[in-house]
């Protein structure tokens, strides 16, 4: 479904990003300018910028796609992304700002006064950053292919190149206005079409979304499968097939699909009559709309409970450990503003996350073929032009596509700049100022880009969930214990991060490499947070209690600095940025 307006809007978003990146940084910025600016940014603007950076492809496309495919259990993703900020607000926001840390490695070093701990935090930051970048780039490929018909490799490469160019040219980091604008653009891009979609649904007699039947095609529908898939037909259907079905070649012939599994070859075209039940890709349970709308897979088995709780733990506790989230808190004037900013973020995320659910539910009615192709993340992209005819629908579709691209670009930029900073300073330990930073930027974007090209077919949501699980198992204990527990030692912190983060990362990589089948083992590996987070905390506490002599020397003054309001003269809160002269 190629939409000419989409090409134009996506191109505009890309051009605007490059233009702002290259011209925005020409405005001369001294270090003190940076400080004056960052200290005068009011909470609402700062919160918009945080929202702009945080709402990624996973939020813009992925949440709706997951709910569309798997039902209300997936509502825990947006709930977790939001409650994660509440947890961040009450345990981390103000002390983190007062610590003066720019990145998690900075925090680890200043609190624990240990370079080895800094190194461990650095490696983990890069790991989490790359894990989170990978699905952004994959999403870019999907979007570009859905709206313009471009080959699947173009999206990841395009986003990676533009992000690299921008970051290397001057950095998106300090451009608060751009990120703030991105939030409101994304909000408009998802909220304006939804109004028209709901109106069109009501004009069509507001057909019920539930019902004891599986999703069905409303009209005669032609579906072309890009890749070979195994599908499950919940009801017998008669399709006109061109291509390979169950090993037999067809050419515009009527083909009965009995109830059960069928293998459909790549590039096969299927024409379904109106009212036919949609055969669904085997990774999505083919259930009736009624059952889809029930919680806990409609069963409430121990496995579905484990998956739900592990997701809750990962998202509630993982948000505070995402590398690009922490960086943004530095632009708050003080700890009190950091709290107020976070509060506004809660509101901005809340209103945004009301919307994907509407797309998901109406997608069951109007875009059921995505259950067949498995490209459920495209539901937000497809619905506007599906429900609203003519130029209006195409323009709304283009708006959504532009919003999705803004989502990839803003999140990828924030992540790339953070990962590149940590790479050049701590991992590669390059000398030579901006040139080494540029080199690190290319590396920071190239690795996940290559992964997105070669490791295809990875469920985007699982990778995002894994990034959260690693962050929750390593950085959450570091931040929470570091801020609230004086007896945390460098040995304990390193042990906790290595045990928690290492186990979560290992479990996740295991699922990518080894085929674990279906069952408890796979569940434990795909959603490891429920066991890796407690282990991370336990290792950090046990390691600290075993090495009481390694408590940081200045722990008393550090704790005072973290918790006492600024401006009392009790603690020195001012820190100055490390600067590098441009070549």
């Amino acid at each position: 479904m190629v939409n000419g307006y989409s090409v134009v809007v996506v191109a505009l978003v890309l051009v605007a990003t490059v233009a702002i990146g290259t011209y925005g940084f020409r405005i001369s910025r001294t270090t003190s300018d940076f400080y004056v600016a960052s200290r005068s940014i009011p909470p609402f603007l700062n919160a918009s910028a945080i929202g702009g950076e945080y709402l990624s492809a996973a939020s813009f496309l992925g949440v709706a796609g997951l709910i569309f495919a798997f039902g209300p259990d997936m509502l825990w993703f947006p709930v977790g992304y939001t409650v994660g900020y509440l947890v961040l607000l009450v345990f981390v926001a103000a002390p983190l700002r007062r610590s003066g840390a720019y990145t998690l490695p900075d925090f680890a070093e200043s609190r624990l006064e240990s370079l080895p701990v800094r190194r461990v935090a650095s490696v983990l930051t890069v790991g989490v950053g790359w894990l989170y970048l990978l699905p952004q780039l994959q999403g870019a490929g999907l979007t570009l292919r859905t709206v313009t018909g471009a080959p699947p490799w173009l999206g990841p490469v395009l986003v990676a190149v533009i992000v690299c160019a921008n970051v290397a040219a001057g950095g998106m980091r300090s451009i608060t206005f751009v990120q703030a604008f991105q939030y409101w653009f994304k909000f408009a891009a998802i909220a304006i079409p939804v109004v028209f979609i709901v109106l069109a649904w009501r004009a069509g007699g507001a057909p019920s979304i539930g019902g004891p039947h599986p999703p069905a095609f409303q009209n005669q529908t032609t579906v072309t499968l890009q890749q070979a898939v195994r599908v499950h037909a919940p009801e017998p259907v008669l399709v006109q097939a061109t291509g390979v079905v169950d090993g037999r070649r067809y050419d515009h012939q009527d083909t009965p699909l009995e109830v059960g599994d069928h293998d459909v070859g790549g590039q096969t075209q299927l024409v379904f009559p109106a009212g036919a039940a949609v055969p669904q890709v085997s990774s999505i349970d083919a259930v009736s709309n009624d059952r889809w709308a029930l919680p806990l897979d409609g069963g409430g088995t121990p496995r579905s409970l484990y998956l739900t709780y592990s997701l809750i733990i990962a998202t509630f506790l993982g948000t505070m450990g995402l590398p690009h989230v922490v960086v943004r808190f530095y632009t708050n004037p003080n700890g009190r503003a950091a709290r107020r900013t976070t509060l506004v973020v809660l509101g901005l995320l809340g209103i945004f996350y009301l919307i994907p659910t509407v797309y998901a539910a109406l997608g069951r009615l109007y875009a059921p073929e995505l259950l067949l192709t498995g490209q459920t993340d495209a539901v937000v992209l497809l619905l506007p032009s599906r429900l609203i005819g003519g130029v209006g629908g195409q323009i709304l579709g283009a708006l959504v596509a532009g919003g999705a691209f803004a989502a990839f670009l803003s999140t990828s930029s924030g992540l790339t700049v953070t990962v590149a900073g940590v790479l050049s300073q701590d991992v590669l330990r390059l000398r030579g100022g901006i040139r080494s930073f540029r080199l690190a930027t290319v590396l920071a974007a190239a690795v996940p880009c290559a992964a997105a090209l070669f490791v295809t077919g990875l469920p985007v949501a699982d990778v995002v969930g894994l990034a959260f699980a690693v962050a929750a198992s390593s950085f959450c204990p570091l931040l929470v214990l570091g801020i609230w527990w004086r007896r945390l030692t460098s040995v304990g912190a390193a042990a906790g991060m290595l045990v928690g983060g290492g186990l979560a990362l290992g479990a996740g990589l295991c699922t990518l490499v080894v085929h674990l089948g279906e069952g408890w083992l796979r569940d434990l590996m795909v959603r490891p947070a429920a066991w890796t987070v407690p282990l991370g905390f336990a290792a950090m506490i046990a390691g600290s209690l075993a090495t009481p002599g390694r408590v940081a020397h200045n722990v008393t003054s550090t704790m005072t600095r973290l918790h006492v309001p600024e401006g009392l003269g009790l603690a020195s809160t001012e820190q100055h940025p490390r600067t590098r002269d441009e070549d």
Binding site: L86, Y102, D106, G300, L305, T342, Q425, S557, P577
Partner: protein, 126 residues
């Protein structure tokens, strides 16, 4: 024609944590100062208060949400409950949770800022 000197452009990478620690004074515990001991006591009680408030808020919100899956698992009767024709789970997790979280955050900020104000008054009196 005068041109203003163009300030040299620098790239901000991260705080100079190492450099700043060398020069940072240790302000809290001057050994000869009795009020500093008192302040240390105040600081500890401030931290305890902030932690308590954080734990209460997160226990209420996260704890309340954590009960939701269990409720649905052990009371399947809830599955058929609808609000304006929409299933209860959709209303709770899709809509109602967001204003509750915002309200909890607002109450936390309000209480915490009051705690900080009280601390500042105590310190300034001492």
């Amino acid at each position: 024609m005068n041109r203003k000197p163009v300030p040299e452009r620098v790239v901000v990478m991260s705080p100079r944590t190492r450099a700043s620690r060398r020069t940072r004074p240790a302000p809290v515990s001057r050994p000869d100062d009795r009020t500093s001991e008192l302040r240390e006591v105040y600081v500890r009680s401030l931290i305890r208060g902030q932690l308590r408030r954080g734990l209460i808020v997160s226990a209420v919100v996260a704890g309340g949400l954590a009960v939701v899956p269990l409720l649905f698992a052990f009371a399947p009767a809830l599955w058929t409950v609808t609000v304006f024709g929409v299933g209860l789970v959709w209303v709770v997790l899709g809509v109602a949770v967001y204003p509750v979280v915002l309200l909890a955050g607002w109450m936390y900020v309000w209480r915490t800022e009051r705690g900080e104000r009280e601390f500042v008054e105590l310190v300034e009196q001492s």
